[in-house]
């Protein structure tokens, strides 16, 4: 009888090491402006989330919080490749994807702190970041649904003839739930401009994905079931992500239908809150810490001749923004009590009776 832990102790699964960086990516057709913008995005995401973590540990962020520290290259690369009117659909692990669309830090942080100046007035919280005017169509906290919802935005774009794409980010663990299958199958059948991006960070919450999945590549090995190509990339190389995104978006805009992309990555920390991620083999953690998206990107920019001080300037700018956002969030008011009773309905209220 075979069960996930019948042949090894919990945490003793075989480590999965990061891909080797492709040196040819240095020479890819990406402008230096795009690359500098990507670097800035990476810094914004990293520094923002480090601050969010501090605030969580200080008890200022209540409830829960899921960080993507270590996984920023995907959000930055895909985000940079999007058109301003494209749609993002993300998960509870959605801070980076929200920032990637240009949503300012301050309302995001205020939302994490449950303040009235939060992105959704404190009503949504960390797991539901949404900024429709930035194309950030929501962060979804129940596994699976948003893959199906992204299809609707893609369908609508097609119906309206706007050439927009809908980009949907989700985790490796999500590939085993029913909605994944329905959404992929539906998108492929209707040839929708949905780009599905699996952020494979090797773990669900506290369980290794390989322990509970019958194929080695949770997304890529499923692509053929939808008549799609298996595509797997180094999710810690922002340029690889950017290139893959550009190609997938082009196909989608050309009416060639959806893509399913598996981006290998890793979280530096645990799943959420104060989890330390100690169920992961030491060797694996170390290898991935050494394959950090920001280090990789900084080194590449230096190799391409960007001055170190220019990069430090970006880092400092961002640090200042984080300080300011922190201040604005902390200074934010508690939400108006009456806001608990607004926006159930389109008339702005919550009344169900006369």
């Amino acid at each position: 009888m075979h069960t996930p832990l019948s042949d090894h102790q919990y945490g003793n699964h075989s480590p999965v090491l990061p891909p080797v960086l492709d040196p040819a990516t240095d020479d890819a057709d990406i402008t230096i402006e795009d690359r500098l913008a990507i670097y800035r995005k990476l810094q914004v995401m990293r520094q923002f989330e480090q601050r969010a973590y501090d605030l969580f540990m200080k008890g200022l962020v209540k409830g829960t919080s899921h960080l993507s520290i270590g996984m920023e290259a995907i959000a930055a690369g895909f985000g940079q490749a999007m058109r301003p009117d494209d749609y993002t659909f993300a998960t509870y692990r959605g801070h980076a994807h929200t920032l990637a669309r240009g949503v300012p830090m301050s309302p995001v942080l205020a939302e994490l702190l449950g303040r009235g100046n939060g992105l959704m007035g404190g009503k949504g919280g960390s797991m539901h970041l949404t900024s429709v005017k930035h194309g950030m169509m929501g962060s979804y906290a129940i596994i699976g649904a948003h893959l199906a919802i992204a299809n609707g935005a893609a369908f609508s774009a097609q119906y309206r003839g706007t050439d927009q794409v809908a980009v949907c980010f989700f985790g490796d663990g999500t590939t085993n739930i029913g909605a994944f299958h329905e959404a992929l199958s539906y998108a492929a059948t209707f040839r929708l401009p949905t780009v599905f991006v699996c952020e494979n960070n090797l773990y669900m919450e506290y369980t290794s994905i390989q322990d509970v999945t019958p194929v080695a590549r949770p997304a890529a090995d499923r692509a053929s079931a939808y008549g799609l190509e298996a595509r797997r990339i180094d999710g810690n190389d922002a340029d690889a992500c950017y290139l893959e995104a550009r190609a997938a978006f082009d196909r989608a805009r050309a009416g060639e239908g959806p893509s399913l992309i598996e981006a290998l990555t890793y979280r530096h920390g645990g799943h959420s809150r104060a989890d330390l991620g100690e169920y992961r083999p030491q060797e694996e953690v170390e290898a991935w810490m050494a394959h950090d998206p920001i280090d990789i990107y900084r080194e590449r920019l230096k190799r391409l001749g960007v001055d170190a001080t220019e990069l430090e300037q970006v880092d400092d700018d961002v640090a200042e923004q984080v300080e300011q956002a922190t201040q604005e969030a902390k200074d934010g008011p508690e939400p108006e009590p009456r806001s608990a009773f607004t926006e159930v309905w389109a008339d702005g209220g919550s009344s169900w009776r006369n």
């Binding site: 749609y87 959704m120 007035g121 009503k123 949504g124 539901h128 949404t130 900024s131 429709v132 005017k133 169509m137 929501g138 979804y140 129940i142 699976g144 649904a145 948003h146 893959l147 199906a148 919802i149 992204a150 299809n151 609707g152 935005a153 893609a154 369908f155 609508s156 774009a157 119906y159 309206r160 809908a166 029913g178 909605a179 329905e182 959404a183 199958s185 539906y186 059948t189 806001s339 607004t342 926006e343 159930v344 309905w345 389109a346 702005g348 919550s350 009344s351 169900w352 009776r353 006369n354």
Partner: protein
């Protein structure tokens, strides 16, 4: 005025709105080519073409996900869930996503969508194809819940549902599809959240919904012969709820009965009973009684199904007994 089947009234309501507004699309299993398993969408494919009337795979989560995503980005989709029992396979999209998104985003997202579905029993389809699940929907803040009992209401409430900027679940009663009624010519648009007094009477208020409305009316006719005059309210919509119509009626009659097709526990009548027991307490001349299907899954044999779903006779007997005790 034309006489229409309730099933054709469904198509008529959709047709009226699709003709008016290009943003309205219809998706679901077998809704296009076949015109719907219950023939409630016949002719729409021919009229509006395959871009707007769309057959889907058997994938209810994908269907409602696509419906939601389309609604949040400018369309006004109508989706069909063939039997309301199948809401159970896509309840996450309804209860956790569609219902909550406007609130969670503090109003950033509007979801002008309609989900139409075949609801209810009496067709001997057994426990998994006969449920009355309007109470599943009523429970969840953020969705409107409509259940017309006549062809005219079906057209007008469908139009109101499509025009609503809120998500609406439209419960079509399978046992009423073959029923007929007059529908006015020209555009018909009704209002959500308004009950209709189908019969006035001073002795007791009967609140009913969908298939239970004609049965309650028949019971009222029976009791009228015994000199008992019932006021029969057709709720038409559970959310919003026309509480005032109920309260006013109970103030006049002093007695309340609900007639519910759902199994007993937490049928919609429980909510109404609790509202009246709080707000009309001093008006009440006797206990509130709920006449419901007992708390069992629905049996498929005709004789058993007829036994458990409230019939006109059962309603009349129960009300008579209670008023005379």
């Amino acid at each position: 005025m034309a006489e229409l089947n309730y099933r054709h009234a469904v198509a008529q309501g959709i047709r009226q709105e699709m003709a008016r507004d290009d943003d309205v699309v219809l998706i679901g299993e077998d809704v296009a080519g076949a015109g719907g398993v219950f023939k409630t969408t016949g002719g729409l494919l021919d009229e509006f073409g395959p871009r707007r009337v769309i057959d889907t795979p058997i994938a209810e989560q994908a269907i409602l996900g696509a419906t939601m995503g389309a609604a949040m980005t400018g369309l006004r989709p109508i989706a069909e869930i063939m039997f309301s029992d199948f809401f159970a396979v896509c309840w996450d999209i309804v209860a956790n996503e569609i219902a909550k998104t406007r609130y969670m985003t503090d109003g950033q997202v509007s979801l002008p969508l309609v989900i139409k579905t075949g609801n209810g029993g009496s067709l001997r389809f057994g426990a998994q194809h006969s449920q009355s699940v309007e109470n599943w929907a009523m429970m969840v803040p953020g969705i409107k819940v409509v259940a017309p009992s006549t062809p005219r209401d079906m057209v007008g409430l469908m139009a109101a549902a499509v025009r609503s900027d809120d998500p609406v679940l439209m419960f079509e009663h399978k046992g009423l599809y073959a029923s007929k009624g007059e529908v006015p010519d020209g555009e018909v648009v009704d209002e959500l959240g308004t009950a209709a007094i189908r019969r006035s009477g001073a002795d007791a208020t009967i609140v009913a919904l969908a298939l239970m409305v004609p049965r309650a009316l028949e019971a009222a006719d029976q009791l009228a012969e015994k000199g008992i005059e019932l006021e029969v309210i057709d709720l038409r919509s559970l959310v919003p709820l026309d509480t005032q119509a109920i309260i006013d009626s109970v103030a006049r009659t002093g007695r309340l009965f609900t007639v519910e097709e759902n199994p007993r526990l937490l049928g919609w009548g429980a909510e109404i009973a609790s509202i009246v027991a709080e707000e009309c307490f001093w008006d009440l001349d006797g206990p509130i009684e709920r006449i419901t299907t007992p708390h069992v899954p629905l049996p498929s044999a005709a004789s058993l199904e007829d036994l458990v779903i409230p019939s006109a006779d059962e309603i009349a007997t129960r009300v008579f007994k209670s008023l005379n005790s």
